[in-house]
């Protein structure tokens, strides 16, 4: 902890950041429910960066719930399993959350099946070598559940010569509205701790730490009571966005600043979302691959907000129907949280491995004040957890001076949106930053292809 922090007895946290209204009360006390099965499921083959999975089923083939339907296409790729018992209806391009069409396996649920899940034979994880463990995680189709859906097994592949000392479980859940991680910690504390323990033991780390924001006292308390003699710490953190961004969480908990361009593992740390470790625990305990996840459905446009266990591939329309449908004044539906999530253009898109929430916003949340010129007020600088200069980014982007932006480290930006949130002139700074990054990437590619 910094000197100042010690002086004022501040709890460990990172500097800067913003305090959006958490809006969690709508769902925070609702137990996780299971949604009924839909008729149709869409499983896009590529749900994360890296290589899409390769289908191992054919059109018309019948499937049981939990059966492998696509295998990893490469190391940077994960397996897919059928979320329902049914039949492959098609392998075709389907609408993806970002509006584009991507190849996907479409499954028609068997309305008469029991939807009983067929467990794969459990594996004794303690006996596995680290390489076998990584293979297992890849086979189980487990990716990061914190949003980016980064293949978990890639994270666990620690290069020769590096040592992992700490496993950090990310229970911050700093995005407003979302309560899926919170509920998971309250309702399945044992699975969280067990998952953390599996990862810790397999990576040979000394300790595991679960970081939870202070606004979830019940989660902290439950985890604490569930704790045996495992070397696991549960740390409360002051509420602040983006506490959950891994480098910020590391700063908050270990007071370590991961150098730009390096990964947490370069500092001996692996960060996993609570959902990710629960999925790992489930796979090794009961042989259930990643075929469903917890999703928070909330927002003022939702008639009955809920925390739900949703089979992957469920169309959002069905999910929303289960929650009483959208209210008539809904203007915007978001996949993910309001700060980093993506508004979707059509309700046809499915729930993906990385979908942590579905929010519906009405007029009063979506109407934004008109954009005014930047008045140089500096709020965006005070917000940026990376200590960047978003105001200058926006000005340079408008003048199309992308190389100058690169010089002032625009590529360090994680697009957390804190700057845009703070801007009184409603300047879409993050949007400008994305444009600049796209341009720089294209430039980069062009200069490489030459």
């Amino acid at each position: 902890m910094s000197l100042l922090g010690t002086l004022f007895n501040l709890k460990g946290t990172f500097r800067h950041g913003v305090h959006p209204d958490p809006h969690k009360q709508q769902t925070v006390d609702l137990r996780i429910q299971r949604v009924p099965f839909s008729e149709r499921y869409v499983m896009p083959l590529g749900q994360h960066i890296g290589v899409p999975a390769k289908p191992v089923v054919e059109k018309g083939q019948s499937l049981t719930r939990g059966e492998l339907i696509a295998e990893p296409g490469a190391f940077m790729s994960t397996a897919l399993h059928s979320p329902v018992t049914g039949r492959v209806a098609a392998i075709e391009a389907c609408r993806y959350t970002d509006g584009s069409f991507k190849p996907a396996i479409v499954i028609e649920a068997d309305p008469y099946a029991t939807q009983q899940f067929q467990p794969q034979p459990p594996v004794d994880w303690e006996a596995l070598s680290i390489d076998e463990f990584i293979q297992q995680v890849q086979r189980a189709g487990i990716v990061g559940m914190g949003g980016a859906a980064f293949p978990a097994h890639v994270k666990f592949s620690i290069p020769e010569g590096q040592r992992i000392d700490n496993v950090l479980i990310n229970g911050a859940e700093c995005e407003p509205y979302l309560t899926n991680d919170h509920r998971l910690m309250v309702e399945r504390p044992a699975a969280v701790i067990r998952g953390a323990e599996i990862v810790r033991r397999k990576l040979g780390a000394r300790r595991a730490t679960i970081g939870v924001e202070d606004n979830k006292p019940d989660a902290i308390a439950t985890l604490q009571t569930e704790l045996g003699d495992e070397p696991v710490d549960i740390v409360g953190l002051p509420m602040k966005y983006p506490q959950g961004a891994e480098k910020m969480l590391i700063k908050a908990i270990y007071d370590i600043e991961v150098p730009a361009g390096q990964l947490p593992r370069d500092c001996g740390i692996v960060v996993n979302n609570v959902g990710t470790v629960v999925a790992i625990a489930d796979w090794f305990d009961s042989g259930m691959p990643l075929i469903e996840r917890v999703v928070t459905v909330s927002g003022p446009g939702i008639n009955y907000p809920a925390n739900l266990i949703v089979p992957l591939g469920t169309p959002l329309r069905d999910l929303l129907k289960f929650c009483g449908g959208l209210s008539d004044d809904t203007r915007e539906v978001i996949s993910g949280g309001p700060m980093m999530g993506a508004p979707i253009a059509s309700l046809d898109v499915p729930v993906l491995k990385g979908t942590s929430g579905v929010l519906a916003f009405t007029e009063s949340e979506t109407s934004r004040p008109r954009e005014y010129p930047c008045i140089h007020c500096g709020r965006c600088l005070d917000a940026c957890p990376y200590f960047l200069n978003p105001s200058r980014f926006a000005r340079l982007a408008k003048a199309r001076l992308y190389d100058e932006m690169k010089e002032i480290n625009v590529l360090d930006c994680v697009e957390c949106g804190a700057c845009t949130f703070a801007c009184p002139s409603s300047i879409p700074i993050v949007q400008h930053i994305r444009t600049a990054k796209d341009n720089l990437r294209h430039q980069h590619r062009r200069s490489h292809s030459e």
């Binding site: 999530g341 979506t366 140089h376």
Partner: protein, 340 residues
């Protein structure tokens, strides 16, 4: 469950939340914060003062209206910043300034101070002070002719100079007096703290009441419309500098309290140095900016030719703002740290 049609969905880029404050609301807050001090100015200086304010605002808004392309006029005028510039300019003027000069000042403030730079947010110098510096350089006599604060019983007594014909000089009656700063500079005569605090002294029409200006500033700070670093660093620097001088020779140099409560110190430090557009971005930059202003004010007031230096100090530091911004860029997270 009724089958409903999908609503037409908006797709805006994330983040989809924003904190409540907006640029027009910040401008509006400054208006509210200035209201008490403005009313006090009218109380002390009467109808002429009101007319001066209106003339400035009219000049400012007119130029903004004429030079803004029709399609963005609504935005440009709607944010209220042009009128705010006019008000702030007016508050720094002598109450008996001929109205045509006040109007001209408003025009120059927006014309040279803002429109030429491309409008709100692009100017490097504080527009209101550009207007005032122009007026002071152009009509130095009218701009340094002060009348004592009177009171509401004289509200309708207009100064004889107020209605001077355009381009012509005003006539001054014998009531003119020196401002507290002028008395300090030329007679080494300090004024009573209490009247500086309340504001019944000669001076610019909105700068005299330290108390009301400070209250407005506190409110703005509480509303998070201004950064405390600028006023505080100005007060601390100016106070310390003048304390040192005062200890050297208390007959010749003003006391720190006099320094802080006389002239445009309060108005400038709280409402003009804090103009976000023309002040640096980063916290460290703001402190450097404020320190520079505090130092320059005392330097100009005590060792320079002008009795008052607030305006020049702010304009000079405005000119250094790009440099300050450049050299106070905070260290980017994760840059310049050793791999642990």
């Amino acid at each position: 469950m009724k089958q409903q049609r999908d609503p037409k969905l908006l797709v805006q880029p994330a983040p989809l939340l924003a904190q409540g404050m907006t640029t027009p609301s910040a401008m509006r807050d400054v208006w509210y914060a200035l209201l008490p001090a403005t009313l006090a100015g009218l109380w002390f200086f009467g109808l002429s003062a009101l007319l001066v304010l209106l003339a400035c605002i009219a000049g400012a808004v007119m130029v903004e209206w004429v030079f803004t392309p029709a399609e963005s006029r609504k935005v440009a005028l709607g944010d209220g910043s042009a009128a705010l510039t006019g008000l702030l300019l007016g508050l720094t003027l002598p109450p008996a300034l001929p109205l045509w000069q006040a109007f001209l000042g408003g025009m120059v403030a927006i014309g040279l101070g803002k429109v030429i730079w491309g409008g709100l947010g692009n100017n490097l110098f504080n527009p209101a002070l550009v207007g005032r510096a122009f007026l002071l350089g152009t009509f130095p006599i009218a701009m340094t002719t002060w009348y004592p604060a009177q009171g509401p019983e004289h509200f309708f007594d207009l100064y004889s100079s107020t209605f001077a014909a355009p381009l012509m000089q005003g006539t001054w009656d014998s009531l003119t007096t020196a401002s507290p700063l002028g008395m300090m500079k030329f007679e080494h005569q300090s004024s009573e703290f209490w009247s500086l605090f309340i504001g019944n002294t000669a001076g610019s029409l909105g700068e005299t009441s330290g108390l009301l200006l400070m209250l407005g500033g506190l409110w703005l700070w509480w509303r998070r419309d201004l950064d405390w670093r600028i006023p505080v660093s100005i007060f601390v620097t100016a106070g310390l500098f003048s304390l040192i001088l005062f200890m050297v020779d208390s007959a010749r140099f003003p006391s720190p309290l006099f320094t802080l409560f006389s002239g445009g110190m309060m108005l400038g430090a709280i409402y003009m140095a804090t103009d976000p557009v023309t002040s640096p971005l980063s916290p460290k930059g703001l402190l450097i900016f404020g320190t520079g202003i505090g130092f320059l004010v005392v330097l100009i007031r005590v060792f320079g030719g002008m009795p008052e230096g607030m305006m020049y100090a702010i304009l000079l530091m405005n000119s250094a703002t790009p440099l300050i911004d450049r050299y106070t860029q905070p260290r980017v997270f994760g840059r310049g740290v050793e791999r642990s």
